[in-house]
């Protein structure tokens, strides 16, 4: 047998047939699978942890919410710097050699974090003269001035966030009252920004920010891109995910909340993220997807790939599968002739 040019010597079957009821077999299989699924349902149910809300986030982690909102206003958050398909930056743009598909497909879901996450939601708040005045002052200022105000407000919050992360004493310029969910930032040179951010926190805690982020010219809404990405910039989703063992360094996508099975069929995809150079690469996603694309193509083409399509002949698992057939075809054992 040749490795590179295997000869297909499979002959059409001309042997015996056994009675077979295809429709009956399918009906029995459906019944068995239904019983199995019902049994698993009765015994184990399925996960359904309530989704996080922006209101919950701003109540439970007010400091994190304020830090994230300030980063959105200064356009230094993860989404603000992401790049396509959300904006024209390059913080999360990946490529492989000359392949830049993320850039090629362009900005299909535009997000301006300062406008979409802060300014526009604040404009929906009625009957607040101080806020209206602050907004008017901010919008009338040159862009450079806006950035200076935003940066002055965001800096102590960033220091606060870093201190909390590293479990150090937070700076005295930021005080967070966990019981009321209020954040006070003592800062000079921030212009109208503290007033705006206090109003944004109040809007979030009232539950009004979710609606503000999904609203558009349409009445019906099914696109949660903006609120989801805003929340993903913060720490609440990650905190809940870590507690449920859902992080990439834990069970990742193999798992769902409550230790229910997730998508274990993606084990190979998930594995590549744990292997160098992907593990530490800023282009890990495109590298892993290209590897999986290549492997998927090879998987489809197995019948036509030399060596791979010969392995089943070399490792004779088929002898186990068709053992009854081979046993039957060998015929009755030949007894040695008696010498008597």
């Amino acid at each position: 047998m040749s490795l590179l040019g295997p000869k297909d010597d499979t002959q059409p079957w001309k042997g015996r047939y056994a009675p077979y009821d295809l429709v009956k077999e399918l009906c029995i299989a459906v019944a068995v699978v239904t019983v199995l699924a019902v049994l698993l349902t009765v015994l184990l149910s399925s996960p359904d942890d309530r989704p996080s809300t922006i209101g919950q986030w701003s109540h439970e982690l007010p400091g994190d919410f304020a830090t994230t909102a300030a980063a959105e206003l200064t356009e230094t958050s993860g989404i603000a710097e992401y790049g396509p398909p959300y904006n024209h930056n390059s913080g999360a743009v990946q490529h492989f050699l000359f392949l830049h598909p993320q850039r090629w497909l362009g900005v299909s879901h535009p997000i301006n974090t300062a406008d979409d996450y802060v300014i526009k939601p604040l404009e929906t708040i009625p009957n607040d003269a101080a806020l209206r005045s602050a907004l008017a002052e901010y919008k009338a200022a040159p862009e450079k001035q806006q950035k200076e105000w935003s940066a002055a407000y965001a800096k102590p919050l960033e220091e606060y966030g870093t201190a909390i992360e590293e479990k150090k004493t937070p700076p005295s310029t930021v005080s967070v009252d966990q019981s009321t969910g209020t954040v006070t930032v003592k800062v000079s040179g921030a212009g109208p920004v503290p007033t705006m951010m206090t109003s944004l926190e109040s809007l979030a805690q009232s539950g009004g920010l979710e609606g503000g982020l999904v609203s558009s010219s349409q009445f019906f809404q099914t696109d949660y891109t903006k609120p989801l990405l805003f929340m993903a910039d913060g720490g609440l989703l990650g905190e809940r995910a870590e507690a449920q063992h859902l992080l990439g360094k834990q069970w990742g996508l193999m798992n769902e909340t409550g230790s229910y099975p997730g998508q274990p069929w993606l084990w190979l995809y998930a594995l590549w993220y744990q292997v160098e150079p992907m593990k530490s690469s800023p282009n890990a996603d495109i590298q892993v997807l290209l590897i999986m694309g290549l492997l998927s193509f090879a998987f489809i083409c197995i019948p036509f790939i030399p060596v791979i399509n010969r392995i089943p002949r070399w490792i004779p698992v088929y002898r186990l599968i068709w053992r009854e057939h081979y046993r039957a075809s060998a015929g009755p054992p030949i007894r040695p002739r008696s010498s008597a």
Binding site: D8, D9, T10, W13, G15, R16, Y17, A18, D21, L26, A29, V33, T34, A37, V38, L40, L44, S45, P47, D48, D49, P51, S52, P85, A92, Q94, Q102, S108, H109, T222, D223, Y224, T225, L228, L229, R240, A241, Q244, T257, G262, P264, W265, D285, L289, L290, F299, I300, C301, I302, P303, P312, R313, V317, Y318, I321, W322, R323, E324, H325, Y326
Partner: protein, 233 residues
């Protein structure tokens, strides 16, 4: 006296409908499409996993249809809804389990032999299309899992540009993919796969011609001596 051919006969040969019917019946005569006998070598538990995959798919579609009838929020609000959602989830797990075992079994049988390459290809593509079909279900759950999976998996989709038309954080788009576009693709692929299996028959054991003498046609399932059903002619 000359005979005149009836208009019906002359138009029949040009009829697309007749051509499709004739080709269909030629490729898959009824006794091969729905056989009542199969080769005797089809005698292993590994063969169960092919039909188990299809059975799981039927349960998935059934439970998913009930969920679709009541809308995407129903299963969060009622015990009955949660029950059907659980059946839907577990039948998906069973579907992938059965399909993976089926694929491994077919690999070790080298089931592409004897001109059955397309059978393998359609099976492998079905598995690959089922993966995003399941993913869109996970991100359409409207719970914390959906929030976490969609915000994490978006980076992979975006990195290859797919995120432009497959936005995991857009519930409406993902729900459409999950209940319509991808299930249609899976069902179509499974249908073609099964028809190819019926057309080509179940692959015979490896090196059959060297291990066994050429078999004389044996008695069929009804003892009539017919051997055509289920086999590849």
């Amino acid at each position: 006296m000359s005979t005149v051919q009836s208009p019906t006969t002359t138009t029949r040969s040009k009829s697309w409908t007749v051509k499709v019917r004739e080709r269909g019946v030629e490729a898959l005569p009824p006794d091969r499409l729905l056989p009542d006998g199969q080769p005797t070598y089809v005698a292993s538990w590994i063969y169960v996993f092919g039909v188990a995959s299809i059975a799981s798919l039927i349960v998935i579609i059934g439970s998913g249809s009930i969920l679709a009838l009541k809308g995407p929020a129903w299963w969060h609000e009622t015990g009955v809804g949660h029950f059907f959602n659980s059946i839907h989830m577990w039948s998906v797990e069973l579907f992938f389990f059965a399909m993976v075992v089926h694929l491994w079994g077919k690999y070790w049988m080298a089931a592409w032999r004897g001109g059955r390459g397309r059978v393998w290809v359609t099976g492998a593509v079905t598995f690959l299309v089922a993966v995003p079909c399941a993913l869109t279900g996970y991100v359409s759950q409207q719970n914390f899992d959906a929030q976490w999976i969609s915000t994490q998996a978006k980076d992979a989709m975006n990195s290859v540009g797919v995120g432009a038309f497959f936005n995991l954080t857009n519930f409406g788009q993902m729900y459409s993919y999950h209940v319509l576009l991808l299930p249609i693709a899976v069902v179509a692929l499974v249908s073609v796969h099964v028809l190819l299996v019926r057309r080509n028959g179940v692959v015979p054991p490896i090196e059959l011609d060297k291990k066994l003498p050429t078999w004389a046609p044996g008695p069929g399932p009804d003892g009539s001596g017919q051997t055509s059903t289920g086999g590849r002619s």
